[in-house]
Amino acid sequence: MKKDAARDALVQEARELLVAMEAALLQIESDGPSKDSINAIFRAAHTIKGSAGLFAFDSIVSFTHVLESVLDRVRNGILRLDDAMLSLLLNCGDYMGDLVDAIAQSREDQEPDRERRTMLEAALNTHLEQVAVVSAQVVDTTGLTEMVAAVTAAAEASVVHTQQAACDDGVANPYWHLSLRFNPDVLRDGLDPLSFLRYLLTMGRSVYVLTLDSMPTADEMDPELCYLGFEIGFDSEADLEAIESVFEFVREDSDITVLSPHSSLAQYRQWIERLPASEHEQVVRLMLQSGALSDAEWQLLKRPHGADPLVAGSNAAAMPPVLRSASFELAPHAMPVNGSAPRQKSGDDKKGLEQKFIKIEVSKLDQLIDLVGELVIAGAGASLVAKRKKDQRFEEATQLISGLVEQIRDAALTLRMVQINEVFQRFPRVVRDMSREMGKEIELIVTGAETELDKSMVEKISDPLMHIVRNAMDHGIEAADIRRAVGKPETGVLRLNATHESGSVVIEVFDDGRGLDKEKIVRKATQQGLISADANLSDKEIFRLIFEPGFTTAEQVTSLSGRGVGMDVVKRNIDSLHGEVDIFSNPGMGTMVRIRLPLTLAIIAGFQVVVGGAVFVIPLDLVVECINLSAHQVHENIVTLRGEPLPFIPLRELFDLPQRESPRKSLVIVQYGQMRAGLLVDNLLGECQAVIKPLGKLFSKVKGLSGSTILGDGRVALILDVPHLITHTGEMEQVGIRRSETRVEFGERM
């Protein structure tokens, strides 16, 4: 049980990290490499490996280890982050996702796809081997920093590398050198650097140790931060992996450099250059005194970069002959690179964006919301008692309480709210991959990603959105040559947008492609027997046909869409969320799919009305106004309101409730989306908080009701399904009551 909980946590964390990793990779692809994003990728891989290691999920550990080694070299600027590398890293991320899925399903002992893994590992290893070859070759003063430069600038740099003669057998030092700078917070995290050193020394013997302290003045020194760094000469038979693994837990935010015995001068140089100036002299003295570097090696090492070739030549007298000739040859080539080479910065703040969240089990949250729901009901009961007692002070007290309860309810509900970005963030990758696969150029624009909606909905809306986006890219946006032919920019635009609108969340997927072909839809639908040939349909009704099961207009089935499954599933999924979906399309200009979802499914602010003695609740967000019907002109079920006709539904007749005498009839005007309608009721009771209790299975087919709630006095009230009722009026009144708002609005968006 316990292990399962931990496993879930691991899986969730790993998935989040993989998402972060993918986002960082895509950012690099669009904006070029940045230290932050490279670090983010490394951190993600590293953390996943670490946590998986705790559970001994060896499959993922060993895979991630190879990946991490490559990333480490990318981070240090030794490997270039080019297009091929990005694709490889994305693929590796995908495969890690597969491995994580396997863990989630407790099948971690089976490899999800051995072939793919072998392929990826081979690709990763190729990069590692290249590095080994290159770093063995690099020797002279124009060493590794040029490789750093290679990340940003440089075909020419690689020319330099290949021309560099292989003449560095490494330094004479037979010992490991470890340079350790710990994250200042390491102590607060409960880790003691000394215990790592003690553990390290179980694998070998220290030859020399230098303790460096960077303590500020006594006043400023915080006794709980770590100010110590260590330079250690280490005599051990252990391999690099074993030694690095000692510092596994602190590696992330600390600066741990491990130099192998006989490392090349270039590696030493790279390390020394990253040392802060204040420590430089001390460390160098240590290296020389302890014999880790000989004087001759140090002379070679310390020559500054970008040295004038003449200077290099004059210094060369002090060098062994072989090296001298090498540096003479190399200097001219190295020159142009040196000029533009950005140096790797040291001591960068490695702390990325730390997530300031705590993880809570969803069931706990649901429990809280349930309790708040009960509190709301009990509070309503108390207010009712107070009102009946006609005790003013009691009433005031209950009012105060209900105000607070309302706040608690809102706060509890927002706990469940997450940004829709959780869904949207998957799309850059999808668009990237699909546009490559189809050879189309597609730009993705995401707006309103910070719009919040209920967590449960985020999960359920993800697949339908994916279908819609895939459809838009496959059927909507044309290939570049067709676009050019019709005078559109070659790059297609796909836009995702989310906004809040009167108690609901609206998600729009827009593409500037060819638009839906109405005639073709009608023709296909007729062929498939979905409509009769002579049916006279409005645009909206035609577009809605594509949601019919089995409907497809694609002439050919591609791997991406067109199999006729999808849009009906989309519709069904959205229906199950009490949402609705609409399509707007202009031939040649594009298509927009608009999904409208209710904000939450748990507690709503409601408006109580009485019809025929029964109490009904209308979601308050949808109520526009209340009017007295007798003051307005009424014809059939249409009322003229401020010169505009408005259809209304007499609820008493709709639900066949007994006639009750009531002095006047009130009309509650509700709006959903672009449509308005009136609901005729006997009496208005006012606002309340309604904890939505689902109707039993028995009533699942009942239209017009979306749930029930318990009132303060213990009675049950039914919650009206306003969207459905409004559509109902629309069906009843075919005449042009609905204004052409939708079309106009879409036209503006084009």
């Binding site: 003691d192 020394l201 220290s206 140790v209 302290d213 303590m215 709980e224 770590c226």
Partner: protein, 107 residues
């Protein structure tokens, strides 16, 4: 009492007992600095009662040495517990903890 002050041969003597770790660090820092301020020109620090020492303890000892030097006071260690000895061996800190010897800072 984990930190005890006394005088011996006319100079101040500080005895550290028990744990010398992150759990004590925040509490000890001002006290240790206060002891240096109180010392005349010589301070003896007896570590023979230290049962446990970690990075924070080491840092505070280094800080004390530095502060003492800044105030031209002599600080020396007398008495080393097994825990401290193991730390000295681990980090090759014999120079720093040399008892009774003239003081050489780390850097």
């Amino acid at each position: 009492m984990p930190l005890t002050q006394s005088t011996r041969d006319g100079h101040l003597r500080l005895l550290v007992n028990g744990g010398f770790t992150i759990f004590q660090a925040a509490e000890y820092k001002p006290q240790l600095l206060g002891v240096i301020d109180n010392a005349d020109d010589m301070l003896e620090v007896d570590l023979s009662g230290v049962e446990e020492i970690d990075t924070t303890g080491l840092q505070l000892l280094l800080l004390m040495k530095r502060e003492a030097a800044l105030q031209y006071k002599q600080l020396f260690f007398n008495g080393v517990s097994p825990a401290v000895q193991s730390l000295i061996d681990l980090l090759h800190l014999q120079d720093v903890f040399e008892t009774q010897a003239p003081l050489q800072g780390l850097a």
